[in-house]
Symmetry: C2
Subunit: 270 residues, 2 copies
Amino acid sequence: MCMIVYDEGWSMDMQRYIVPPEAFRGRTVVVEGDDAFHLSRVMRMRPGDRIVVCDGCGREATAVLTKVAPDRAEAEAEDFRPSAGEPAWTVVIAQSLPKGDKMELIIQKGTEIGAAAFVPFRSERVIVRYDGKQEAKRLERWRRIAKEAAEQAHRGRLPEVSGVASWRELLASFPEYDDVYFCYERQGGEPSAGLRTLVRETMSRIPDRPLKLLVVVGPEGGFTEREAAEAEAAGARPVGLGSRILRTETAALAVLACLMYESGEMGGDG
Amino acid sequence: MCMIVYDEGWSMDMQRYIVPPEAFRGRTVVVEGDDAFHLSRVMRMRPGDRIVVCDGCGREATAVLTKVAPDRAEAEAEDFRPSAGEPAWTVVIAQSLPKGDKMELIIQKGTEIGAAAFVPFRSERVIVRYDGKQEAKRLERWRRIAKEAAEQAHRGRLPEVSGVASWRELLASFPEYDDVYFCYERQGGEPSAGLRTLVRETMSRIPDRPLKLLVVVGPEGGFTEREAAEAEAAGARPVGLGSRILRTETAALAVLACLMYESGEMGGDG
């Protein structure tokens, strides 16, 4: 139930680094690469200074630096504890590739708000085209953004950013979730049910454990009718987000915030 | 209950323009300035084409263009109707001046999600400094962003962006609202109540009409303890947003989305 508003590079408390689980060797933690550079050169830390190291899988420790070099640092963990910053519900954002740097915004803000993972995917009206090299570069950048946002937001788990999925691959993943909410305005006929209506239905169907949900958001031009029919046939539920028209990046973040709210992350008795 | 995801300049339906109420003269609507240029040069519309004109105060009309020039166009309204895109609750975002272009993001996305107005203000830890001329320029830009976002999102009311308020002026405005939620993590003692807890309290206190709420968000460095004490003394309620740490711009948008959700904008029985 806490919120501290803070800025890039500024923090009221200890600097946090998410390191791979294999960086822990007993109580010793090895920090390498960009993190070692940041720690030694940007933060100008020295042996004896304390950091928080998190394995990105829900475990973290306060650790005292023992060696500091620009490419490698070592620290001794003083205590291990479960990370506190993880939401109960698992909410995965499947985002059809948007234009420009919108995916970066979605990943950064979505990580702060509490997304468990991101699945970029291609649908018919996607405009951007990446060749293999460009895609690999983007993916590297998106993963770096997720890591930095997770460290800043004090997440205990590092949200995964998958490689770009095809529409077929995305549809095939639907059975992994308790429910799939598909942001789509039905053309004609009955309008899509509101998000809250659908979430309350899912909650009453599965009252006894935290939910695992997939939120599917289309590109700027929306989904085609055929895609909507295929998604529904694969088990997704079309969802409405109110009477205003949201940009693709706004939709993903608004749904995520509402799901965190509904799951009790911001207080209330449910 | 609808959501269409779309892009700048692209729309499945008629182009919308928010014009000042005085642009309506009987059934005749005059479109001037940037809007006339956009309509004539960017959209290449001609007499006989239809647009939607909205007075930004909740009334709109479909109108047929009768004259089109780059600096001035005229149209005849075919029907007048109340705008459909307005949320029931009035939620005002008071945002302490953030760095860079974050205020633009807050105003753009906040307008889409449903903010009624924005109050930029100065608090102790604000880093940016505008002189009078810079502030006027920013304000002009913020208001243009609000207008464009309102048109895109099909808002019926144009959210006002106030001039930059002082901390004292902000405090003095608190009595205008049913409740003031102050995004702040208490230092020591009892933690701030979660957003949902507070909203449900406000709703049970005022069960018979839509709420009017002010959400107060600090700058990157947060509020000082003195500011928090002054805000509480002026009637604001410190609010927590979950166990992750949100950047200032993310906090404003997440709270707004949750309030729209709680007020029933996204379905559900309340």
